[in-house]
């Protein structure tokens, strides 16, 4: 089955088996292992990507569903100028431990801040409740969101 998909701005082609998830196609066929496969059940958010601008768990999306559509992954966030402000904030706030949840959380936080540039802590908790992190207890992730929001606020 041929799938043609625009990933991080570039048209790519793959030939996945029909039951393959978007996550597996990204990781195993398109060489983009940044999106992680922690549960494959839609329970952890480690596989979060954008599909036509909408945040999805890519383990729950079939590769075929992405045909002719636009996908953005964590690998597409850092630009020539270096890390994305959300990535910088995670690094500086000490929000990264093992880092396996980190790409999914960075995608989810970037998505949140695009919709609401200065969310309350309660809203951040709500928005990130689908992203499991076993290492940090989330506190420094909440700190990182606040830091990123401050940095990204229009002056």
């Amino acid at each position: 089955m041929r799938v043609r998909v625009r990933v991080n701005g570039e048209w790519r082609e793959a030939d996945p088996w029909e039951g393959t998830s978007l996550l597996s196609m990204l990781r195993d066929e398109l060489g983009l292992p940044g999106s992680k496969n922690a549960c494959e059940q839609g329970e952890c958010g480690s596989c979060s990507v954008w599909l036509d601008g909408e945040l999805v768990c890519s383990c729950l999306v079939l590769a075929a569903q992405a045909d002719d559509r636009d996908v953005r992954t964590v690998e597409g966030l850092a630009g020539d100028g270096g890390l994305h402000p959300v990535q910088e904030a995670f690094l500086e706030a000490g929000a990264v431990q093992c880092g396996f949840c980190t790409p999914g959380l960075i995608v989810a936080v970037t998505d949140l801040l695009a919709q609401d540039p200065s969310p309350s802590e309660a809203m951040v908790r709500e928005a990130l409740s689908g992203n499991l992190c076993r290492c940090t207890g989330y506190q420094k992730i909440l700190d990182a969101v606040r830091l990123a929001a401050e940095r990204m606020a229009p002056r």
Partner: protein, 760 residues
């Protein structure tokens, strides 16, 4: 002292952060090789049964299937740590639901699944032993009929389904009870819980034409896995290379061989690289979770609140194989003693076989189970004596120079400070601020695991430094901590250090990322390497500058004396021309902690090295109808000896508390009839952003005698006290005392109903 430091004691960003935030860091689950096959494991569907038929012919003939293996295809050996009772595959009989029976390698995951489904296996059920009581009952079926024939370290006390009984005896416990004014007896229970690391266990194996196998694994212990693979494969360790790419969390769950041997066997048989990775279901049914337990405590106290004697027993349900059980049962007895001065002790820990998955080590193994019992009972006793729980603890805690339960002399004891600071921060004076609201306290002690560590440290010709360590970075930032120690000593910045880690062929030995030891031990090895490098650097520079080596100092990337200076880069280049470059092998072995050998029996962990001390305090409310707990504030005061990197220590505390609150309030692997009822992340409920409160971390610093700059192990302790702190707060809030984990809303609600009925 920390004020003069440039690098240690500072909250610098971890060395591996850029790769992790950009998504470019490669974990074992990401690692791939050309032509790699997908390996999967067929697991037993019964808790205890004889295998009467196992036929793989149909599976092996399916399209895309490259290898199918069973016990018949692998060396017939039993392996394990102190007790060799495990086999790669079940042979003749299965002992838990989830035990490996066969494994396949195929071109795609779908083909591998199809092959598993095509394996013909028939079982004849046997009576299963489903819990501790059943395993210990007279005449209980033996999980291992031939237990006596197994190879074991001689120190273990084994008998039937008990694969170790560890004991501490101090003073005369009966006399101690006679001296007491009151004696309290209680029984507690805790459930089986999973480490919950986000990255599943994964390994890729590949053989070369010389007969050497390389295994890329997310193990915490590459050298241990190398040795275990040597046993399982019946090959010399020198032919087995274990490399650890990134590790997505371990918490003790990735200490032991789990999938590596399957990958290696399948790769050999198929002639292709093979990856084996677990699913969530396999994790929750066939991993190395924390043992469920039963604890019985009998404690004697005087009217004025001094503990005269304690008798305690803990039974750990270690599952169908010993796993870490015998060691964990030993450690448990030290936790049962608690951080208290008690002259008369009789403490026993039992590791018990049942027909469940093989339990292992989970962050502070036995800590939460035993501490939950000890610290719950401390509050029950304080209430009965009409003493404030803080005051009762202060009358009994250990202080500087006191003896531990096995006679070790305690140094760097910051417990009193921890208790006072935690209670001050939680507002202890007002312990019941309103209806349904209460505050709870718990304290404890823990070890900094010993073992040896080696590092190679090389100065590059540009003056930067390569740190080569056998320890894997599992997420704690321990390697960053060790690198900070090194940078401080060499007068360089943390960003000048690059790390090569955890490859059994190219990195020096390390006892592994376990037991809160990594920053401590690798940091000390870095100190040794730095001292050696300085000798080399000063000798070279002295000749070059025409000064005495003793006059030289190393700072700011330069070596200098008498106003003359030379850059570290210059010295490194000079050394490349004259002596093969600047490199040092630094080593560290934790000195033994003396203890009274007469007090212990069957004990594989008789003293806590460089012990840490901690107190947790929590303020929570309980919904009077639903029993649901809402945490308002959580405080941890932890004696870390010296805070090498405060931010990441806070991270350990915050994460450890979150994980601890999971096992306190919601997590349990629930078995019924030998089957796990909740083998998925919907029903095995780990805390999310909506469940975890902010945690206030107070870093207390009473230096240890051994650690770098006085540091102690910090990673495991935050996981120990949450159950007891919450149980005590729930009791303060409601009067309901929950004596089993998890403390679900349902249990509290039922307790409230009972209390109302009793009061009516």
């Amino acid at each position: 002292m920390a004020d003069r430091m440039r690098v240690v004691g500072k909250s610098l960003a971890r060395v591996d952060a850029p790769g992790k935030v950009s998504g470019t860091a490669i974990y074992a689950a990401d690692f791939a090789l050309p032509g790699m096959l997908c390996g999967k494991v067929l697991r037993s569907t019964l808790p205890h049964a004889r295998i009467t038929r196992l036929d793989v012919t149909r599976a092996a003939a399916l399209p895309g299937v490259r290898a199918v293996i069973t016990a018949a295809d692998v060396p017939d050996v039993r392996y394990g740590g102190g007790l060799k009772d495990e086999t790669a595959f079940a042979k003749d009989k299965v002992r838990y639901m989830g035990q490996p029976v066969a494994a396949v390698a195929a071109a795609t995951p779908e083909a591998a699944e199809a092959a598993l489904a095509a394996i013909d296996v028939v079982y004849e059920p046997l009576p299963a032993v489903l819990d501790l009581e059943a395993a210990l009952a007279p005449g209980a079926p033996l999980i291992h009929e031939a237990w006596e024939s197994y190879t074991a370290i001689p120190i273990l006390h084994r008998e039937g389904n008990v694969c170790n009984r560890a004991r501490i005896v101090a003073g005369d416990v009966e006399r101690g009870f006679e001296e007491a004014d009151r004696v309290f007896e209680h029984r507690f229970r805790t459930g089986m819980v999973h480490q919950g690391y986000t990255e599943p266990r994964a390994a890729v194996a590949s053989w070369d034409s010389s007969g050497q196998v390389t295994v890329w694994s997310n193990t915490q212990l590459p050298f241990e896995v190398q040795n275990t693979l040597a046993e399982i494969l019946q090959m010399p360790p020198s032919k087995i290379r274990v490399v650890v790419p990134g590790v997505g969390g371990g918490f003790g769950g990735k200490l032991r061989v789990g999938v590596e041997h399957f990958a290696a066997f399948l790769a050999r048989k198929s002639g292709r690289p093979v990856r084996v990775a677990t699913t969530s279901e396999e994790e929750l049914t066939a991993a190395y979770p924390r043992q469920g337990s039963i604890v019985e405590l009998k404690t004697g106290v005087t009217k004025d609140g001094r503990i005269t004697a304690k008798a305690g027993r803990i039974w750990l349900d270690t599952g169908a194989f010993a796993g870490s059980g015998p060691g964990v049962a030993s450690v448990a007895t030290l936790v049962l003693a608690g951080p208290y001065k008690i002259p008369n002790l009789y403490l026993e820990g039992f590791a018990v076989y049942t027909n469940k998955t093989n339990c292992g080590s989970f962050r502070a193994p036995s800590g939460p189970q035993a501490n939950f019992a000890v610290e719950s009972q401390m509050d029950i006793i304080a209430d009965a004596l009409d003493l404030d729980p803080l005051e009762f603890r202060l009358r009994n805690i250990v202080r500087e120079g006191d003896e531990g339960p096995t006679g070790q002399v305690l140094n760097g004891v910051g417990l009193e400070e921890c208790l006072l600071k935690a209670t001050a921060a939680i507002g202890w004076k007002d312990r019941r601020p309103g209806p349904g609201r209460g505050k709870g306290l718990a304290c404890g002690w823990w070890t900094t695991t010993g073992g040896s560590s080696g590092v190679y440290v090389k100065i590059n010709p540009d003056g930067t430094v390569a740190l080569n360590t056998g320890a894997a970075e599992i997420g704690t930032a321990a390697i960053t901590g060790a690198a900070q120690v090194l940078a401080e000593e060499l007068g360089i910045d943390l960003t000048d250090i690059s790390v090569v880690a955890a490859d059994t062929f190219s990195t020096p030995f390390d006892f592994g990322a376990q037991g809160s030891r990594t920053a401590f031990a690798v940091g000390n090895a870095c100190l040794a390497a730095a001292a050696d490098l300085k000798r080399q650097i000063f000798a070279l520079a002295a000749g070059q500058l025409g000064v005495e080596p003793d006059a030289l100092t190393l700072a700011d990337k330069h070596v200098a004396a008498d106003g003359k200076r030379l850059s570290l880069a210059d010295v490194a280049r000079l050394s490349q021309q004259t002596g093969g470059g600047l490199i040092a092998h630094g080593t560290f072995i934790a000195p033994p902690t003396p203890y009274d050998t007469k007090r212990v029996e069957g004990h594989v962990y008789p003293a806590f090295h460089s012990p840490s001390f901690h107190a947790h305090a929590v303020d929570l409310s309980v919904d009077p109808q639903t029993g649901e707990v809402t945490i308002h504030k959580y405080v941890v005061a932890q004696d870390v000896g010296f805070a090498i990197n405060p931010t990441y220590i806070e991270g350990q505390i915050e994460g450890g508390v979150a994980q601890g609150l999971g096992q306190t309030l919601s997590e349990e692997i629930i078995y019924e009839g030998g089957r796990v009822l909740n083998p998925n992340l919907t029903d095995y409920k780990m805390p999310t952003t909506l469940d975890v409160p902010r945690v206030e971390s107070i870093l207390v610093q009473h230096p240890s005698l051994v650690g770098p700059h006085g540091a102690k192990g910090v990673g495991e302790p935050p996981n120990i006290e949450p159950p007891a702190a919450v149980a005590n707060a729930v009791a303060a809030a409601t009067g309901v005392r929950i004596t089993s984990l998890p403390i679900t809303a349902e249990k509290i609600a039922l307790g409230l109903v009972d209390a109302r009925a009793g009061g009516a």
